[in-house]
Symmetry: C2
Subunit: 315 residues, 2 copies
């Protein structure tokens, strides 16, 4: 298809499709805008888990065994922190730590998170544009049956055990899109927006909830297509299905279509979910059936091509 592509991504699933898009699109044609609602400060360091997952994945350095962090990771730092009685609930690998220390230094020098991301991604040899959704802090708070929890407390420390009632994105009303996301939205050549198969509640919602982004989507003249993160009634990774259950949503590709509603023009669903196509189309959402589970980089490229062709057909 022609034009530029804006991909909205969270962590692992989003990063895999972003990698596929980066493999099939020239650098000038792709912007990956990444959720920063999961960001937090830990041990004095600014941690941006989704930005890092996208960076490591596009750089070919993602840890495929753990599904997060850097390949060939070592854990001496964390062991020594444990010996010193420090906090070990959020595990920082030795290599990963370099990213956070460098980001701290760049931010301390008065630069923005966008500039820090540019510098880090550039140093990793990434030629496609990866941008935070905003340079202003937006912090996801999970409202649970045990009270409100900062996202990483819910996700890592509490292993998503508390029952979810709602999500809140602190700071989102005042958050402008980052310059890179703004540029992608206002690019006259923009051909489509791709919502990657990331968690709709905690990865995609913070991005599309930024007022300027929400307004863009409401008034869009380019297709917005999403890829369902729910396959065969289960989340490919992470707590999306558990959250859907707790929020009373149907845990299926149809539930995803109901969640996004009129904010998307099309939904790519997995072959095992083909039976949901009529009900999704009845919502006014076009459907593409495709292999959506990405087990290899070739899978990512295949899904990227399918998604782009799908969006192209909706223009």
């Amino acid at each position: 298809m022609a034009g530029t592509i804006l991909a909205l991504a969270g962590g692992v699933g989003g990063a895999k499709l972003a990698r596929g898009l980066a493999d099939v699109l020239e650098p000038g044609r792709l912007t990956v805008a990444v959720n920063t609602g999961d960001d937090f400060e830990h041990m004095g360091l600014p941690i941006s888990p989704d930005l890092d997952t996208v960076m490591y994945t596009l750089a070919g350095r993602a840890n495929k065994e753990t599904g997060w962090g850097v390949a060939d990771e070592t854990w001496s730092f964390m062991e020594a922190i444990g010996d010193l009685g420090g906090e070990t609930w959020f595990r920082l690998g030795d290599r990963d730590l370099a990213t956070h220390v460098m980001r701290r230094r760049i931010l301390d020098a008065g630069k923005t998170l966008s500039e820090a991301t540019d510098a880090l991604a550039g140093a990793l040899g990434i030629r496609h544009r990866i941008v935070p959704m905003s340079d202003r802090p937006v912090r996801t708070v999970v409202e649970t049956d045990e009270g409100p929890l900062p996202f990483q407390d819910y996700f890592v420390r509490r292993r998503c055990e508390p029952r979810v009632a709602a999500f809140r994105f602190e700071g989102i009303e005042a958050a402008a899109p980052s310059p890179g996301l703004s540029a992608a939205l206002s690019d006259p050549d923009l051909g489509a927006v791709v919502i990657c198969p990331s968690n709709p509640y905690v990865s995609v919602a913070p991005i599309v909830g930024i007022p300027t982004v929400a307004e863009f989507i409401d008034a869009r003249d380019v297709p917005v297509v999403a890829v369902s993160p729910i396959v065969g009634g289960r989340a490919v990774k992470g707590p999306a299905a558990k959250m859907m259950a707790e929020l009373g949503a149907e845990i299926s590709a149809l539930g995803i279509a109901q969640h996004y509603g009129t904010r998307i023009d099309g939904l790519a669903i997995d072959e095992v979910d083909a039976g949901f196509a009529p009900d999704i189309e009845a919502l006014g959402v076009a459907v593409r059936v495709a292999p959506t589970v990405m087990r290899s980089e070739e899978d990512s490229r295949t899904l990227a091509r399918e998604t782009l062709a799908f969006a192209d057909g909706l223009r």
Copy 2:
């Protein structure tokens, strides 16, 4: 001997004798006051090389191969920093990094360097008191033929290559001894001060140059004994001999005695230097000949016992 002991120490050599003293004295009887003139901020982290060397050595965790840092160290962080285009001239091991990150957190919480040191040493299981010479920053500047250099720039980045003309200790006039050093100096049971075999110019001078410490030494009523860091006309470790040459001092145990002059009552010198004894005694400095090169913990204990017996004889 009776009474408490105050040991003044820099890095490796000082730490080895401190270890010996810690092995032969009960915890309540020893305070090790450590040079902080080499301290600096690097990558946003507060690095205290001498405090760390003393801590690691007393905890039995010193890296005996490198002579600095922690045993069983790994270097993934530094490799990743290099990949990201960061500074790699000052090498921070993965385990060592935990100490600096924890120190940063403690200092950021409004605590002093003394409190940070207590917490870290305590976590490492050290029962003897290790204290920084001061909680106020004192920064060693090396005046060289290439201009003034901050200590770590001279020592690590430039590998002591520039020719030394003088040393300056920025902040020393305003530096009070740390509470632990003050307490040791004013302890009515203080039996002796031991100047460990550390570099006299850059490890010991900053400690004894703190006004209150200098006044104590001038008016002392307990013996101050030093152990010569120069053995057989060479520094056991580090740039002391090169500095002595550049400053026009005699590179020998006698040169050390001339340097300390009336600030010490006795100097322990190595067996190979026994011939200097008459000239040193002629300066009014008592001499003890002992095996001063510490190759093992048993050597450290032997030298500690010799030094304590020597000081006891000078009371």
